[in-house]
């Protein structure tokens, strides 16, 4: 993605990608090396900078067109940065109960916020965004769940960087959301390492989150092909937080909740692999955006997290 320009970058957008890989010496089992790819080092602090840039550039907006996306998370913040620097307007549709800091950061980056009904969760935000886009052709909805530029950004960026930096990759682990990270990265890493094991870490949502969801709302993102995954593991909030805390305590890495889940799975996979194997764990973001969450110090982690879907 990013072009090398020496020590001086012409734009913040040139600093997207080329994230470092760091060995997790304290968290790797004996004989196997787990490497963390630190996506929190992207300009807005998450892996979503990669796909935001790729999707906006692929959309090739005409004068008068504006960007629209249902998101209250990292993707919104990444799009807000890219939209600003590319000179586009951005509207984010998000549930009315999204946290104040999420709204504030998007507003500060210059995005317009439209509220969707709180009780309809992220599905409600998607529905409202689709209605708005259908009723006004000014809006271009990028929709990361179905946008081919999403996995492509990871094929050309994340995956290519891993292949460049590590001569041998035996397993890659990433969080499963849109599926873009896993699909794109795995496709590229497989070209260089045909036997690489591709593992997805999935969140086990708390009951209050799941209660919002009916089977009729079931959704598999069009860009996700589950048959391309070798393993798909469910990780509880409590397991994720144990790993988030271990990353900080033992490796000095302040990471987000999904990164904890990914490290949890990476350690499980690493235990199963032969000596000399290399495992790459893609850590999607840093922990800064989660500091107001209760789980850092809560005695009952699961309970403190059950009302939120964390990635």
């Amino acid at each position: 993605m990013a072009t090398e320009t020496g020590t001086v970058a012409g734009s913040l957008l040139d600093l997207i990608g080329n994230t470092p890989l760091v060995e997790l010496r304290q968290l790797s089992p004996e004989g196997v090396r787990i490497y963390a790819k630190l996506e929190g080092q992207n300009p807005t602090g998450s892996i979503k900078d990669r796909i935001a840039l790729a999707m906006v550039d692929a959309a090739d907006l005409r004068p008068g067109q504006e960007l629209l996306e249902p998101t209250s998370g990292n993707t919104g913040i990444s799009l807000a940065l890219v939209a600003k620097l590319r000179g586009h307007k951005l509207t984010c549709v998000m549930p009315a109960n999204a946290t104040p800091e999420r709204r504030l950061v998007l507003e500060l980056y210059g995005a317009t916020i439209v509220d969707s009904p709180a009780d309809q969760g992220s599905n409600g935000a998607v529905r409202l965004a689709q209605e708005i886009a259908a009723g006004d052709d000014r809006y271009v909805m990028l929709f990361q769940y179905a946008n081919e530029a999403n996995p492509r950004a990871h094929y050309e960026g994340t995956g290519a960087e891993i292949v460049r930096d590590l001569p041998r990759v035996d397993a890659i682990v990433a969080g499963l959301g849109t599926g873009g990270t896993l699909m794109g990265t795995a496709a590229r890493v497989r070209e260089a390492n045909p036997d690489v094991l591709v593992a997805a870490a999935e969140p086990l949502p708390g009951d209050p989150v799941m209660g919002l969801r009916s089977l009729d709302d079931g959704y598999v993102p069009p860009i996700l092909d589950v048959s391309k995954l070798d393993r798909k593991l469910l990780v509880s909030n409590a397991e994720s937080v144990v790993a988030v805390r271990a990353l900080l305590d033992r490796e000095g890495i302040l990471a987000g909740v999904s990164a904890g889940a990914v490290v949890h799975v990476a350690r499980r996979i690493a235990e199963e692999l032969p000596e000399g194997s290399n495992v790459v764990a893609i850590l999607a973001d840093g922990g800064w955006k989660y500091l107001s969450a209760d789980f850092w110090r809560s005695a009952d982690v699961e309970r403190s997290m059950e009302t939120t879907l964390w990635w």
């Binding site: 998101t71 009951d207 799941m210 079931g218 959704y219 598999v220 996700l224």
Partner: protein, 92 residues
């Protein structure tokens, strides 16, 4: 015998229970046993000998679709989780 965790959306079909029991050495046997005990629940997750499209079945934390599907082994005492297929939203 295995413990099957039921998501909120399917608890009515499970008589309100958060967890139910079922037995079987494979996912197919386990789901058929579950469907015979709780036909309403079975009908929502298992149809014509297949797991329904928007249902994910996990055995000891792993999605059975990447472990051999209905032929995936289930150990005695396993924890089985049923979940609606999920992502940020409904696209179409």
């Amino acid at each position: 015998m295995s413990v099957v965790r039921v998501p909120p959306v399917l608890r009515e079909e499970a008589g309100g229970a958060r967890e139910v029991e079922a037995s079987g050495a494979t996912v197919r046997e386990l789901l058929e046993d579950l469907a015979s005990r709780l036909p309403a629940l079975g009908a929502r997750i298992y149809e014509d000998g297949e797991i329904r499209p928007y249902v994910n079945v996990y055995v000891d934390g792993e999605d059975v679709r990447t472990r051999g599907g209905l032929d995936a082994p289930v150990r005695d005492g396993a924890t089985v989780v049923l979940l609606p297929a999920m992502a940020g939203g409904r696209g179409h």
